[in-house]
């Protein structure tokens, strides 16, 4: 009993529970449709590459997971969301492809045709991400503009700038060297590795330095933190900068998957997924304390829902409805009033049991 209680009181319990819930839906479905109950979880080596539904979830969920890292920090420090990340992804991807292919060139099919080395393009994309992050950060931290309003600017503008950089074309870079970031290293999908590295780096930074504490302290009370000697503004600025950098990395992955810069579609609506991931992870969108692992699990939960829809062959027209129902259930389970109700019931049960024992 006490073990169960200990488990349920862990901060990560609910996000993990929801994730498992989603995965279990598949188990039930697979059983009902007559295949093995573990077929959703099966991982095989097809054509020398890892394949399976779990791999799909980890692979396709990478972009949102990377975005969720930055979004968690932003939400925590500034009690607001960065709604520009999807557009910034697109801008970074376009910038990268534009640098590599040269302005106005719409298709590159071999490394000899590169206008600039691939590395320049990649670094350029990351710098562009940082620049966008710095822009958002300076508006929010130093000009005290509401985060949603401040990031609304790039939300609408970044994609358009990306289109301009690409001369209104889809720029194709059909070169294996570029495709590797969205493809495979050995048998493992590269996006999984990139996401894992990003998560590892930021976790180490948060654990080994005081940054995690600073961010939370600024998020809980900006003024008090300043009086306590923290440079609140700079901390908020840095959070947005990291968020922009994450968007840049996600943009490279997304564009490498399709070996092209499809400015209109890369990262479309992904800012909403990133925000949802933070919320699903049990973080308050009101800022303050945060739980990075929760956000990451939230990100993969979103992808798990999508993959579940594919697995069950739900027709595309009703997919959003199913998604909405699952999300409502997950968010409701984590809502404070429901949590309190569960706690109360557990307490009442405990009292009743004690009563029985004493008699």
């Amino acid at each position: 009993m006490s073990n169960v209680k200990k488990l349920t009181q862990k901060r990560l319990f609910l996000p993990v529970f929801c994730m498992i819930l989603v995965l279990c839906i598949n188990m039930v479905y697979d059983l009902a449709s007559g295949s093995n109950f573990y077929s959703f979880f099966e991982i095989t080596l097809t054509n020398g590459l890892l394949s399976g539904r779990l791999i799909n979830i980890l692979n396709r969920g990478s972009e949102v997971a990377i975005l969720a890292i930055g979004m968690t920090l932003v939400v925590s420090a500034s009690a607001g969301t960065d709604i520009s990340v999807g557009s910034v992804m697109s801008l970074c991807a376009s910038f990268c492809c534009m640098l590599v292919a040269g302005f106005g060139v719409s298709s590159v099919s071999s490394a000899e045709e590169f206008a600039m080395p691939l590395a320049v393009g990649l670094i350029g994309a990351l710098l562009m991400g940082c620049l966008c992050g710095a822009f958002n950060g300076s508006l929010v931290a130093y000009l005290n503009i509401q985060p949603m309003v401040a990031t609304l600017i790039l939300w609408s503008a970044a994609r358009a700038i990306g289109l301009l950089l690409c001369n209104n074309l889809i720029v194709y870079i059909r070169v294996p060297e570029f495709g590797v970031f969205g493809g495979y290293i050995g048998p493992i999908p590269t996006p999984i590795i990139i996401a894992a590295v990003c998560v590892a780096v930021i976790s180490v930074v948060l654990k080994k330095t005081a940054m995690g504490m600073y961010v939370q302290s600024v998020g809980i009370n900006k003024k008090a933190s300043r009086i306590a000697g923290l440079n609140s503004k700079r901390i908020i600025f840095v959070c947005y900068l990291i968020c922009g950098l994450c968007a840049g990395i996600a943009g490279i992955v997304a564009s490498s998957r399709i070996t092209s810069a499809d400015s209109n579609n890369i990262g479309l609506d992904m800012e909403l997924d990133a925000i949802l991931a933070v919320a699903l992870g049990g973080n308050s969108l009101g800022g303050g304390k945060f739980n990075l692992a929760g956000s990451i699990i939230g990100a993969y939960t979103i992808q798990a829902i999508t993959t579940t829809m594919y697995n069950m062959g739900v027709s595309s027209a009703v997919t959003p409805v199913f998604k909405a129902i699952v999300v409502i259930v997950i968010v409701a389970v984590q809502a404070p009033p429901l949590k309190a109700w569960f706690k109360k019931r557990a307490a009442a049960k405990a009292v009743a049991q004690k009563g029985v024992a004493s008699v």
Binding site: F135, Y142, I258, Y310
Partner: protein, 369 residues
Amino acid sequence: MKKKLLALLLALGMGASLAACGGGGGTTTESPAGGESTPPATETTPAGGEETTPATSGDVITVGFAQVGHESDWRTASTKSAQDVFSAENGYELSFVDCDNDSAAQLEAVRNFIQQGVDYIIIDPIVSTGWDAVLTECEDAGIPVIVIDRTIDDSDKYVSWVGSDFKVEGLACGEWLKAYAEDKGITEINALVIEGSTGASATIGRTDGFKEIADREGWTILASQTGDFTEAGGQEVMESYCQSYAGQFNVVICQNDNEAAGAMTAMDNAGVTYGVGGDVILVSFDANKPYVQMVMEGKINANFECNPMAAPTVAEIIQQLEAGETPEKEIYVTESWFVAEDNVSTITVNGEEQECIYVTQEVLDARPY
């Protein structure tokens, strides 16, 4: 203080670049007095074979064109087609407005055309409703309106609509597949469909058309899910199909070229062979030039065109109106079907015999887009 200044500067810099971007959407008028303007790509007759007849009268005909935006290669081809056909050499003056997918801007553009007093207005409507008021204004001003590509549902105050019949594209796809399978001795068809964006007219028409033939022939459509007309979408859906239906399918229908590109990557990763000589018959729609090339290379078995070159047909309508005739209300642009093998040369769609074009280098070189 210094930081505030820096922040302000950053903000200003971004703002300036924004302003610079905003300038792109404005009106560009093709002036007829372009001294050494190059002749329009010397009539590479767009697929159907309508020759653009230069205006017979000595006067310059002014045409206003309110385009949707520039979101795809297809749209770019549509714009370029209009700019080529309504050139100064052909006796036209074109006022072209790129509305950047903003329906309010499009209404504004049409009202501007009325004020300018152009002779004809071409609209590719961003939304299908809310047109009655502005079309009445056009009628009052005596300016004929021609609608292309997308449709207007709440008003009939336009002369003609010119566009694609998506259902015929779907039917043609089915008929070709039937003939192809018969020729190759394939008795069982298990198809996977990657649909376009849910609710788009192209998606509905192509899905209905193909399904009609599939039902008639008793084919199995294993699954039909949306790939949102994007490469990433096609890739993700195909990746999932490869796991769900491993070894069970022999036909993949992608409802546009970008999805086909994504599907190819996913099948490569899963070790599924496709195209000529492969295990899976791959079919695509739209037929943009790079993908017609893939048909030639045998990666795609067949590609069904969605012709963006409405302008030559519009020019014909304008000539008819100039001559005092009444053009038809609904006109479909001619579309071609491209195939990778020469075993099926004609198919019968809706009782009409149509040619399947076997793609060679000459066919590819003659493609304008």
